[in-house]
């Protein structure tokens, strides 16, 4: 299996602060790679560089072998990259269903004129997207909230809505930034299953998550960041025993993972 996503020497500085420095790794088809590290380690910044939100100061991002460094997010979406956000980016005034349909944009959009005139072609495209979106909402347990305005949902539900929207793109590579934040134990377990299921269907998953139990349970490979640099990587068992990792987490979360 070849790497769907691979990054080399990626770095960025914000006014002198090396937020991410010389980070590299790769994610293969069906693999779940987690990026962990204390608050401010540079995990979200890394995601932003991979997904074209920030222009990397150094390094290279490739998708299925193609160099896509600093490419616009909408062009990356066309190439099969999709992501969720740590600080929710929901379309607040749209319904839950419409938020999920928005994930079908690339497949449902066509001629503007057809959309203005409400031509059958336009309606057919929209209908296909709507059906797909409904199925996805059911998959993340939000089907009953479909017609509600998204802004009125609780945090955990919105996290799941973002996952549904990201899955709607039918991505080859999926970046999830703290998908279980704000979710209770039951919801976390559901998300856990969902991620495993998506990976099993061949999607390469890059995960940032503070819930160490979840990370240790589902990751194939873990990359540890601290102060923007990669301090360790390996399978869950290796990483959780790594002295540098334990030091970075001041022992607390590494202990938590073992217990």
């Amino acid at each position: 299996m070849s790497a769907l996503l691979s990054i080399e020497g990626l770095g960025i500085t914000f006014g002198g602060l090396k937020a991410v420095h010389d980070v590299g790794f790769s994610v293969r088809e069906g693999e779940i790679v987690s990026v962990i590290g204390p608050n401010g380690a540079g995990k979200t910044t890394l995601f932003n560089m991979i997904s074209g939100v920030y222009q990397p100061g150094a390094g290279r991002v490739s998708l299925s072998g193609e160099d896509v460094t600093g490419m616009r997010p909408d062009l990356l979406a066309r190439r099969g990259l999709s992501r969720t956000f740590q600080n929710l980016q929901i379309f607040q005034s749209m319904t839950v269903l419409e938020n999920a349909i928005a994930g079908y944009h690339l497949r449902e959009s066509g001629s503007v004129l057809a959309d203005l005139l409400g031509l059958p072609a336009s309606r057919r495209r929209a209908l296909t997207a709507r059906e797909g979106a409904r199925a996805l909402l059911a998959r993340v347990g939000l089907d009953r909230a479909a017609e509600r305005e998204a802004g009125n949902l609780c945090y955990g539900a919105l996290k799941r809505l973002e996952i549904a929207r990201a899955l709607a793109l039918n991505p080859k590579v999926l970046l999830l930034d703290e998908p279980a934040a704000g979710c209770n134990a039951v919801e976390t377990e559901e998300i856990d299953h969902l991620i495993a299921e998506v990976a099993a269907s061949g999607v390469a998953i890059l995960l940032v998550e503070h819930d160490m139990k979840m990370v240790m349970r589902i990751s194939n490979h873990i990359v540890v960041l601290d102060h923007g640099e990669k301090i360790a990587e390996g399978d869950p068992a290796t990483v959780s025993r790594d002295p540098a990792v334990i030091a970075a987490y001041l022992g607390t979360e590494a202990d938590h993972a073992d217990g």
Binding site: D74, A102, G110, D115, R165
Partner: protein
């Protein structure tokens, strides 16, 4: 049978257009009604640009000016039928919007408002100063559309006021229908998405600059047709149609009624068209009035008058 929101809106609008004439005390009100519909058409374009896509233009009267003067000039200089002149004006407006919007809409922030402000002033200046073509501030005659005579030949004899009332009403209905189609279509969803979160819209594959440009061009075409209708029904046009005050009027009407909803915005157009007519004292203080309305809406009714009223009714009804 349950009506979709689109059908309900169109039905309400059609009923209002058809039934209000029964309550008109005099023929004069047809003229006021027609004016409301003409403004309503421009404001529907603002709903697409500002309500759907979240972009602000302070120069849309410039497009109304292009539409209006196309009807005055193209029949004389190019020998076009006034209806075709209106179409030419719309095409021209769309192209201008594309040219102005393309470099601007790649940038983030309020550059569009500033750029359109400049564009509106430019059009207004050209119309005022190029006297050899436009006759300047005194205005210029506009040829007859000829449709009323045609209808008369077919046995439908309408007064001038009646004709423009129903014809503008029909145009507004078509404009509203198109805007409502757009709302629930892939393009409309992309526009509303980038309004909600530009970054998330990009991530799901929306080419944000392109989508904004589409909204801008479409709304410019609405303003252009609105200007054409105004010129054709007055049979006369002055550069005021492209003036800054007219641009502000469009935005205020939309915001007052509710920029997120087509019916609300048209409602706002109705109120702000009627108010100066009903209270002639306000006519002198129109600028003051517009400013005040805008401030009050922003402070007390963020979503606009109609949505706020509907919410109140539903809130107590349930």
């Amino acid at each position: 049978m349950k009506l979709t929101p689109k059908q309900a809106t169109l039905l309400v609008l059609a009923a209002l257009i058809a039934l209000t004439p029964f309550f008109f005390p005099s023929g004069y009100y047809y003229r006021v009604g027609a004016l409301i519909f003409v403004n309503g058409l421009a404001v529907t374009g603002i709903v697409i640009l500002t309500g759907y896509a979240g972009q602000v233009s302070l120069g849309h009267a410039g497009f109304a000016g292009i539409g209006a003067y196309a009807c005055a000039l193209a029949p004389v200089h190019l020998g076009l039928h006034p209806a075709l002149a209106a179409v030419l004006g719309a095409i021209l407006s769309g192209c201008m919007a594309w040219l102005v919007g393309r470099p601007i809409l790649r940038l983030k922030g309020y550059y569009l408002a500033v750029a359109t402000l400049g564009f509106g002033i430019l059009v207004s200046m050209v119309l005022n100063n190029e006297r050899w073509l436009t006759r300047g501030p005194d205005g210029i005659d506009v040829p007859d559309l000829g449709l009323r005579g045609l209808l008369k030949g077919w046995g439908l004899d309408l007064s001038n006021g009646e004709f423009w009332y129903f014809f503008s009403g029909l145009c507004l209905l078509v404009g509203a229908w198109l805007a409502l189609n757009l709302y629930d279509s892939p393009t409309g969803r992309a526009l509303r998405a980038l309004h909600g979160s530009e970054i998330a819209a990009r991530v799901v594959g929306v080419d944000v600059a392109r989508a904004k440009l589409q909204a801008f061009v479409i709304s410019a075409v609405y303003a252009s047709f609105s200007g054409s209708l105004l010129a054709l029904q007055n049979k006369f046009v002055t550069p005021d149609v492209a003036g800054f005050m007219h641009s502000i009027e469009m935005v205020t009407m939309a915001v007052l009624g509710g920029v997120g909803s087509v019916l609300g915005a048209i409602f706002g157009a109705g109120i702000l068209t009627l108010l100066p007519q009903a209270l002639t004292v306000f006519a002198e203080y129109e600028q003051l009035l517009l400013g005040l309305v805008m401030m009050l809406v922003m402070i007390f009714l963020r979503e606009g008058l109609l949505p706020s009223i509907l919410r109140k009714i539903r809130g107590t009804g349930e």
